[in-house]
Amino acid sequence: MNYPVWNVPGIGAGLVVAIIATIHVLISHFAIGGGAFLAVAEFWSDRQADGERIRAWLHKFATFFLVFTTVFGAVTGVGIWFSIQLASPEATSLLIHQFVFAWATEWIVFLAELSVLYLYYYGWKTNSRSFQRFLAAAYFVIAWFSLFVINGILTFMLTPGSWTLQNHDIAGAFFNPGFWPALFIRTAVMMLIAGLGAMLVASRLHDDALKARIVSFSAKWVIPAALLVPLFGYWYWSTLPGSSIDLFQSGATGVGGGKMASINRFFWLSVISGGLIMVSTMVIALRPKALHTSAAVALMLLALFGVVGAEFFREMARKPYVIKDTLYSNALWVHDATPEQLAQPYFSASRWEPETQPLSLEHGEWVYRLQCATCHTLNGYRGLKGYTAQWTPVSGVRFLETLEAQGVMPPFQGNVDDRAALTSFLLSLDPERAIAGSDVKILYEQAQEAQQAPQAALPFVGSLLLAAERGAQGAKEGLR
């Protein structure tokens, strides 16, 4: 293990990333789609008889938009970066080294986006109408370009295309198979969220007539986008690796047996959230005055659920990799996962464990920490105590032997001592099943011998049977 692993009790490092990321995805999509909304609403208000009233509301929307997107959006963006470097420093390092100038370019784009938003907002009273429209449109174009850049890096992780660790094909990495469909999906989603955000701000209006007009205008952003997302989603699906589709269609056997269908659940969470948003918005469009703030907040929460579903689906579709076919989710490089290297004692290649007695609980605990804790906790999220509740000492060691066969986990790194120590540690989470690592190893070895014994005895038994059969035939012939 090249880097230390951040052990977060109960929730795990991965869920910390997921919590920050889903909040950021919602806000960042609002930040871009909201720019388009501001630009279009600027033009729209100029063509309305009561344009001044609409613009007065638009200023309220812009205030909410600016505070919400800069405070929560910008800082959670930094937060994702901080959290991924804790959860997966090896993968973060690879992404940073491969895409450093793409990221630097995105930073300039973000700087411009932020500055244009301030110029638009602080020049509200003094900028000419045409210049305000220009700034709003410029803001949207610049913000969308920041998505364009980030989208290349995000989709690379699941569908790296022609890129390999050896060829460094940056163009192939960036414009990978998932790039365009993901860009279109995200563009549609940002329009949808912009409409929901505008409905939220409009729901606070006391002027019913104005509220009705703005809510109706905002609903027109939601419904077409909600219809487009499944179409682009189908396109995206066609670019997914076969292993991801197999996982979705067939599931995977979990650590404790049974079928791991989480990816399906997250997929359906996203689909159902999208469907509910579309239906609810249609109802709201029929009676826009009736929109209450609590309903608008509920719609925003549904959008958050949709984002949760989609982002978790994307994360699970990558399993067992964090960068497809290059780096496993627990920082094991694919090129290092040869049978010879995998069979070496785990601590011979790891740097971060203290001195431990072989087969002790501490031995098992550090194997868990460095090899499993990137994705699993002991008692909480993806908790191994629950997952291993049906384990016996022998079944545990055997499960670890064929870990990668499940399709969602990396191969186990280490020898039989490491597997026995880890099994002992996981079983000891339940005091009633606690067993020493050395005993686990003995039981496992006995079971292996017993399994091999019938095969070894087979020729002898077979020859006896054959002799008996021949004897019987001879007796028959003698009788004749």
Partner: protein, 377 residues
């Protein structure tokens, strides 16, 4: 190395990760230059914002003459300052990770709990500044506690960052800290340079925010608001003097707390000496300029003082990086890093930088003209 005598491990036993297999996308000197440039901008934004919040609190608490105008100025400008301090904080960390990734990632994981805590802390401190601004009329009683809490949280974030950067330079500490707390509930409090370095960083805001107040005083003088101009200039000058005094004190403390062989390099005639001497010279020039600017209420001099102070910050930032290389010298050499240059992408970045800056300058001038014209009416 005195700082490390509590834990001595042989270099072979240190858990320093291997560098990234992809290598650097540009020669280290180019990445360093970009890191220096952007970190200077970040530090200026930090000093502006934190200094502004602290001066605003001081003016309000002491009920200084003109405190209403001063707090108004900082109330309107600190949320913007915060926004840019976050934005300018990204690229230096990016380039730092490219060059020193194996060090900064390791220390970040070891301090994982406090490192990730900076995210909600930044949101709180930033949000509090907007709350302070937007609730000014509706909730006047909130003003002081909200601003104070923002200042405290900002000071805490700075402490976390200094913890992480100092720990990244001392791999000798890593194993013990990580084994004691794999969940990252650790700190680098055992580091002798931690507090001097932190206090040094926290002294600079008084200088920069003070200079900004002198500059605003000069603008107010142009606008014929003589009394306000004098009040701004007076507080600005006092703040700058206090900041300079603290910088000298904490700078001396930092030099004293450095491992002797590294401290000796500052006077050994190498790059460290050059950057240190340059920083001191620029500090004296900027102090002289701001003195004149304050006395004569000259806008040009106050802008020149800020420009020179920015160069001073850049010189000390380069010294800081040189000291980092001295710390890491037993384990890390810049010239041993593999370079797989990506000139095409660098070109795209450079073009974006130029086009972006030109565009921003043009639109900013246009908006500023509108704002100034409106004020003139």
């Amino acid at each position: 190395m005195m700082a490390l005598d509590w834990l001595v491990l042989s270099a072979e036993a240190l858990p320093i990760p291997s560098p990234d297999p992809l290598g650097l996308a540009a020669p280290p000197v180019l990445l360093q230059a970009l890191a220096y440039l952007t970190f200077t901008l970040h530090i200026l934004a930090v000093d502006f914002t934190l200094g502004g919040v602290l001066l605003s609190l001081w003016a309000r608490w002491r009920k200084l003459p003109g405190h209403a105008s001063m707090t108004r100025f900082w109330r309107l400008s600190t949320p913007l300052g915060f926004s840019y301090l976050v934005t300018f904080g990204v690229p230096p960390l990016l380039f730092l990770q490219v060059i020193y990734g194996q060090f900064i990632y390791s220390s970040s994981v070891i301090l994982g709990a406090m490192w990730i805590a900076t995210v909600p802390m930044l949101i709180f401190a930033y949000g509090a500044l907007y709350l302070h601004k937007l609730s000014h009329e509706a909730r006047p009683r909130w003003q002081l506690p909200v601003l104070l809490s923002s200042a405290i949280v900002m000071l805490l974030v700075g402490f976390v960052l200094v913890n992480n950067i100092t720990l990244s330079m001392v791999p000798e500490r890593w194993a013990a800290l990580y084994h004691a707390s794999p969940g990252g509930v650790s700190s680098n409090l055992g580091e002798p340079t931690l507090f001097p370095r932190y206090l040094l960083f926290m002294s600079a805001p008084f200088v920069i925010a003070g200079m900004v107040m002198v500059m605003v005083g000069a603008v107010l003088k142009r606008w014929k608001e003589t009394e306000k101009a004098r009040q701004f200039s007076s507080l600005g000058w006092s703040s700058m003097v206090l900041g300079r005094f603290l910088l000298v004190l904490t700078g001396a403390l930092l030099l004293w707390s450095l491992p002797p062989e590294i401290a000796a390099k500052v006077s050994a005639g190498g790059m460290e000496t050059l950057f240190f001497a340059l920083g001191l010279l620029l500090a004296m020039v900027s102090t002289g300029l701001v003195f004149q600017a304050s006395r004569l209420a000259r806008l040009d001099l106050s802008i020149a003082a800020l420009v020179v102070a920015s160069l001073e910050a850049a010189a000390f930032i380069m010294l800081r990086d040189q000291v980092r290389l001295d710390y890491l010298a037993p384990h890390f050499q810049l010239n041993e890093l593999t370079v797989n240059a990506q000139w095409g992408l660098f070109g795209l970045f450079a073009v974006s930088l130029v086009v972006g800056l030109v565009f921003l300058i043009l639109v900013t001038i246009r908006v500023a003209r509108g704002l100034l014209a409106a004020r003139a009416q």
